[in-house]
């Protein structure tokens, strides 16, 4: 039991966090709970504090519309939270799609698909292209372009307000991640993930690598959904400084050699 906790503590915490947030939203819709109302696009915390998806608000800005104060304040609050503390934690602790892609990734490892499957190569920068495109299309079409296709919103809204054919979007992402591209959606395509990678680039909490302890077993790189951020493994003691790190903590818990742990960013550059 203790071992399970040690090996999966962040995973368990993340699932609790993701599900708790969903339950609060569902309660907000069906039972009138005043804790979290709305959905991840925009919500009202305790019926007072506005929260808004800053990426969605930026898309609305690109359409040229004048957004009311609540959404702007909400977007600023969320941006500040992730910029200072959260980093890209939205992806691993809040987003419901994470559970779908994690499952796909788990099955990939379990069934050893990486060894058999035809390898596709795709740049992890696609998400930034998609993000740029979404602003251009929002401007040209006069509506928040990603919000009309976003599988994140479809999933999240589906769970809270009724799914309709939304399951098809979830299935598509699952199959894409399972059979087409490893970490395909969250790690390559999703512009919201890209957005939070940029926002959370300089946040406080970071994973730190302690090189002398490392035995180069590479378990961390195997579970990491953004393994390019672990470029320093076995090479240098430092923080994982790339914004793409979702702070999911999988690398910390799989490491048997105590070579990875959560830490706080170095504010002063230490002399070599």
């Amino acid at each position: 039991m203790n071992r399970i906790w040690k090996k999966y503590r962040f995973l368990i915490l993340r699932r609790i966090s993701q599900i708790a947030i969903l339950v609060l939203y569902i309660g907000g819709n069906y039972w009138g709970w005043k804790i979290l109302q709305g959905n991840l696009s925009s919500s009202s915390l305790f019926g007072k504090v506005p929260l808004a998806d800053p990426y969605a608000v930026l898309q609305i800005f690109s359409t040229g519309a004048i957004v009311a104060a609540d959404a702007i304040i909400g977007a600023v609050i969320v941006t500040l939270f992730y910029a200072l503390i959260g980093g890209r934690a939205f992806c691993s602790y809040v987003c419901p799609v994470n559970m779908v892609t994690d499952l796909a990734n788990y099955l990939r490892r379990k069934w050893k698909l990486d060894k058999i499957e035809k390898k596709w190569w795709a740049s992890r920068n696609i998400r930034y292209w998609v993000m740029g495109l979404s602003f251009i299309l929002s401007f040209l079409l006069g509506t928040a372009a990603f919000e009309l296709v976003s599988p994140i919103s479809i999933t999240h809204r589906g769970i809270i307000f009724g799914m309709g054919f939304g399951w098809a979007a979830i299935l598509a992402i699952f199959l894409f991640d399972l059979f087409i591209l490893k970490n395909g959606w969250c790690g390559h395509v999703c512009p919201l993930g890209g957005f939070y990678s940029l926002v959370g680039r300089y946040n406080l909490f970071r994973v730190r690598h302690n090189q002398p302890n490392c035995t180069l077993c590479m378990k961390c790189k195997e579970v990491c959904p953004e393994k390019e951020v672990l470029y320093m493994i076995g090479k240098k003691s430092q923080i994982v400084d790339m914004g793409e790190c979702t702070l999911c903590g999988r690398c910390v818990e799989v490491c048997d050699d105590d070579a990875l742990h959560f830490s706080i960013r170095d504010f002063v550059k230490k002399g070599e």
């Binding site: 819709n29 959905n39 925009s42 969605a56 519309a65």
Partner: protein, 263 residues
Amino acid sequence: MDQKRRTFLVTMAQNMAIAATGGLLWAAYVDEAKAAPLTLRPPGARKEDEFMSLCIKCGLCVEACPYDTLILAKPGDHKPLGTPYFVPRDVPCYMCEDIPCVPPCPTGALDIDSVTKKEGDKRVFDITLMRMGVAIVDIKDCIAYWGIQCDACYRACPLLDKAIYMELRRNERTGKHAKLLPVVDPDYCTGCGLCEHACVTEIAAIKVLPRDVALGKVGSHYVKGWQGSDESRLKGSKGIQTTVTPRSKKSPVESLNEGIDFE
């Protein structure tokens, strides 16, 4: 060196082509998906194109609605995804006086100013100001127009005798009865859909449609001369303007003789 530049240019061209292909597909989908002209929006909603740019699809209006009138569009509803709408035949808008659905809107896609009026020095809610749509009567399938006595829609209307009034007409078929015909006045109709909900026919003979779908527009060159307020639009006008050219100075008759040599 030249090879390197070639590779760079080709790679860039490939990336741009992928982005353009994806962008065009995406744009084509979004452009079609956002066009749903028959969608009835919540109270206070701005014009459809403004509404579509502003709505963040959060569902706060839907959650605020005490009658579950408002629905958030799901995939398969054939409405712009995630935007709120309602179907009056299923659940109409009951026109709450405290309008719970409009203030929660975080982006201003639902405009509070459009459903409030000034009273003294503060603004108060007035739900009768909203214009979600307008009711249209199908006079061939409305049984009141057949001469059968029915005033279900008239009785259901929250703005009775204003938004729907009954017009008296002689029943020519029997020659001795009257018909009482429901008539909608778009100046008062809010588009709440209580009439459509109440209609007794199998498919409602009175239906709410979005105002820009159902209503026409006269154009500014028609002036109601019998109405002081409309007549005042002519103020400052220079009267009937005639364009004078060297040709128009001559009498039209003269043109008959033009180009003819009488010698």
